[in-house]
């Protein structure tokens, strides 16, 4: 077994064991949201870290997934899982439609296009009150209590939800790993490294960019649905440019193309700042400074930099 896998499984075990040690509801809440962020950042990593597509509108898919999941429960009374699946499906459909023309465009134009798209979505969500509740959508129902094998499980409890998120995170990492370790993943990386060479070798770059884009948006939508039901209320800002920017900073700083990066990113840039109440006002400044320092001195991110120290260390960093 590879050293990386050992570390990864160790981390996984730690994650499973945490609720047994940590009893505080507040901490469980924070860790659950951290988990959702990790799912979201992983999806952006697929797009940016592996395929090289810098999207400034990724949060839009998070938001669309969240709102779809919430609205199908609120307006049609569908159960959570069904609404989640519909939300993922609709978001993926949408991303494929918008990606089809947009992914032909390269470089900063593409990034700007995604930013424009994300901003438009946020404005629409904000202004279409009758559907989305405008400034805030609340009253999203809690997950039900279920009888399973004689046990009564309350999915809405902090503990159960934490496990749901951890499970989803594992699933996400599994999906991404499996895709990357195949001709599809190789195509993604070839597009990132040198698109012209990839095409000269027979890779249909548009098709594979689209696959990456659609998969990333599907995962982001799933994270959105999980977020919606956990929080009980959502706002249009979760789809907005500030959120998209923060996500990009998380993956650039954490380390694109690594699992460690998707852990470090949200940990350093969301989890830690949340505890520093006084520093809230300094957050954008801090983010910008960190982003600058990383891109100039450590372009492979923190995880990448650690890996580069020595090949022996490289093998242990997932």
């Amino acid at each position: 077994m590879q050293p990386r896998t050992i570390i990864f499984l160790a981390l996984g075990l730690m994650a499973l064991v945490i609720p047994l040690i940590v009893k505080s509801n507040y901490w469980l809440y924070m860790l659950t949201i951290l988990g959702i962020f990790m799912i979201l950042v992983s999806s952006l990593d697929l797009l940016y870290g592996f395929t090289g597509l810098a999207s400034l509108g990724h949060a839009a898919f998070f938001g669309i997934g969240a709102y779809c999941t919430a609205l199908f429960q609120l307006k049609f009374g569908f159960p959570f899982l069904v609404s989640l699946i519909i939300g993922i499906f609709l978001t993926t459909l949408f991303s494929t439609l918008i990606g089809w023309p947009m992914l032909r465009i390269r470089g900063p134009y593409f990034a700007l296009g995604t930013l424009a798209f994300g901003t438009i979505i946020t404005i629409i969500i904000h202004n279409w009150d009758e559907l989305t509740g405008g400034v805030s959508l609340s009253g999203i129902p809690l997950l039900p209590k279920v009888e399973l094998l004689g046990l009564s499980i309350d999915f809405a409890s902090k503990r159960s939800y934490y496990y749901i998120v951890i499970f989803s995170l594992f699933l996400t990492i599994l999906i991404i790993r499996r895709l990357m370790d195949s001709k599809i993943g190789r195509a993604f990386e070839s597009i990132r490294e040198n698109q012209d060479l990839a095409v000269a070798l027979g890779v249909n770059s548009l098709r594979y960019k689209l696959i990456s884009f659609a998969t990333a948006s599907a995962i982001a939508a799933g994270a959105g649905g999980l977020y919606a039901n956990y929080m009980g209320a959502i706002e249009p800002e979760i789809a907005g440019s500030h959120m998209s920017f923060n996500l990009l900073v998380m993956i650039v700083v954490g380390g694109p193309g690594t699992i460690t990066g998707t852990i470090i990113g949200p940990l350093l840039l969301w989890f830690v700042p949340e505890f520093l109440e006084a520093a809230q006002a300094y957050r954008p400044l801090f983010f910008g400074l960190l982003l600058l320092l990383v891109i100039i001195f450590m372009p492979m991110g923190i995880a990448g930099r650690i890996r580069a120290i020595d090949p022996r260390i490289d093998r242990w960093i997932p």
């Binding site: 999906i175 499996r178 895709l179 370790d181 195949s182 001709k183 599809i184 993943g185 190789r186 195509a187 990386e189 070839s190 490294e193 040198n194 012209d196 060479l197 990839a198 095409v199 000269a200 070798l201 027979g202 890779v203 249909n204 770059s205 696959i211």
Partner: protein
Amino acid sequence: MDSIKTVKNSTLLKADMLSVTFGRLKAVDNIDFEIQAGELFGLIGPNGAGKTTIFNAITNTVPISGGSVRFMGKFIHGTKPHEVAKMGVVRIFQSATIFTKTPVLVHIMNGLHCRSTTTYWGALLRTPSFKKEEAGNRKRARELLKFTNLECVEDQPAGSLSWAQQKRLMLATALSVDPKLILLDEPIAGMNADEIAEMIELIKTIRTNGITTIVIDHNMKVMMNICDRMMVMNFGQKLTEGPPETVAQDPRVIEAYLGSSKNDQSQ
């Protein structure tokens, strides 16, 4: 290596009145040529003569402004670049164009992309057919690794290789696409004598296996040695064409390379 289904001595690639214009610059000006299956065709000329542009036109990486290029009878014109590769035309770029961060073995496997039938869900669910194909891909990549003498660097990122190794890697990757026609753009540039000899061996072996090759290079000695036929270009136009000995003695060629001098008889 796999046998090629083309009939030897049939026309593989045909260019008719090919022109490529960039703005006011006629990079390729009304050129005709025919490449026979199985031959090693050389393309020479001073820098800026339009040789690389011809390669770009053959792979449809730049649009053709006039005339046509046909590969096995099919017009290149409407075919997307990645489809051209799938059809069997693979080019190797002039500079060390590689996937820098990719390990060597995986790098070669990239060429197998268009020949693999793995699907998205096959990869996700790890179906038996997926596993079988991946194993086959690895095996094939290994063969090419051995062929180009890169076994010792199998796991290293492509960017860490020496220049000559990178060129061999580019060749191995191109070969994994299973091409009928391979376009080599300055394959031995920047190499020392030993490395050149090694590369020539590889090119000759490729030819023996039936793959048609077009080579651009400036090393006249080597070109005379390996090419069956050559075409000389200057300022986007064809100067002359024929077997190496004939071409080398053509006064127009000498003039283009060395400048004209009434009393100058040197080659």
